[in-house]
Amino acid sequence: MNPARIMRNKIVRSLFSKAGAAVLVSAGLAPLTMPPQAAAQNPGGRGGAPVTAKAAAPFDISGYWVSVITQNWRLRMVVPPKGDYMGIAMTPASKEIADAWDPAKDEAAGNQCKGYGAGTIMTNPERLHIIWPDDNNLQMEIDAGTQTRTFHFGNWKPEPGTKPSWQGESVALWQSRERDARRDPKARYLQVTTRNMLPGYLRKNGVPYSENSVLIEDYDFFQEPTGEQWMIVTTELRDPKYLDRPYILSAQFRKERDGSKWEPTPCSSRW
């Protein structure tokens, strides 16, 4: 028998011995054999001063990001024609509203920003400017439509009676994919839950989402060997009123060196 196999057999035998099990438990390694599962963890130390969201960030999300549109181009880069509902599990009530879409009416009513609400803003062609205004709040400025989102970490609670807005109110945390989130602080992604949004459009041609919608977003990050940094945003909009099932989209962003291409533009119903 070759040495590697002898070693393997010893390991397997000892794992099944009482002594081996005791070692695993006392060394805190038993959880390694358990299946991983997502676990939420707000920033916070073990007995010491709380770790801020900024300090706990597993990657540097701040800076300028540009959307890279390679999918659904015709539905995202231009306003698609009325009645183009491909890919949306809409309800009959939704279709009734979308069929009546009139951009001129939206403009007259001051609703040009309906296509720039949090529900789908991440899939618009745009640049993001992300900063930490303080240690537990993340601010995302978006040049298309000149919108601002704020992601609140920690124990932040919305004030009762706050009026709905295009970007709603967002609670954020560094979510772990592992059972014990403390094991690997880098193995996390940003998860944001947004409520209290004004009714908006899933697509600029008038497909609606309602004021009761809930948006859950997952932000993943990776770096290419060249140093180029990417952020992938997975958005899930739940709206029982206008959707037969959650509307799930992705958006791809690449980090830019600076803000030289940052170009805020107003909301538009027709472009």
Binding site: V23, D84, Y247, I248
Partner: protein, 302 residues
Amino acid sequence: MTKSALLALLALSAASVPSFAQIDLSGSWFPYNESDALSNSPGPRPLPLDFLGIPFNKYGQERGLLYSPSYMSVPERICAGYPPHYLVVGPHGVKIWNEMEPLTGTTVAWHINGWEDRAPTTIWMDERPHPSENAPHPPGGFVTGKWEGDVLVAYTTHMEAGLVRRSGAFLSDQATMTARFFRHGDTLTVTARIDDPYYLTEPYYLTRLFKQDSVASIHAVPPPCVQGDEGVPEGAVPHYMPGNNQFIGELTRKYHIPEEAYMGGAETMYPEFRKKIKDKYTIPDKCPNDCGGPGKFGLRNQ
């Protein structure tokens, strides 16, 4: 502490460092194709020559302009399958499972099921090298994987040439793909970077989404592809000669998309490209075809 127990601790500690962050990806994953409804949706295809947002160079565009949809009706092509990047451009769900070394439980490979026109994928996790550049290119390519933290990264070489969009957008057999599998609870996000030294000017990124399907409706063994006679004369290869593709201008006629957009290459991927076509685009009065709507969301589930 016995000697064998200590040995177990040391061995497990060493072996567990890289596996610490490994995430279980196994299970049936149901497709959510909204992100690329125009390409991934089963049934309706993107219009021929829809190269919007693809960083093609002129060779990629010229290759695409030769394409006739009847090309796929040639008996040799009906079941010839799509390259591994069909994972992120196809309509199907996926079943993923791991293959373990029986004594240690180490994952030596991840498997992704095939579909009737897509070969199964095996992602080797045992650090084996990729084959020689002269090795054959099987339908599933050759794939190795590693964990970057809690994200599985799979690198594919030795792909066959094939469609990356069902509009006639081809990539060469020198293309490679780096796919990242991000799991968020019951949601799986797969982002692929595709490089092609022959047809692309820069990497082409695509993302596809899945939800875990607890009833396991997605089978490991795909339905068979049935080859048949679709009326193409023997020996014929449907195509268009350069400049004669009847679908040139189709996106403009139906959707008012200027030609410089679908033939624009990499610059069409970025927001500032919109300024180039702002004065040329008008919203069509109505959706011309394949418009979706309540109850018309998908023609089949997988």
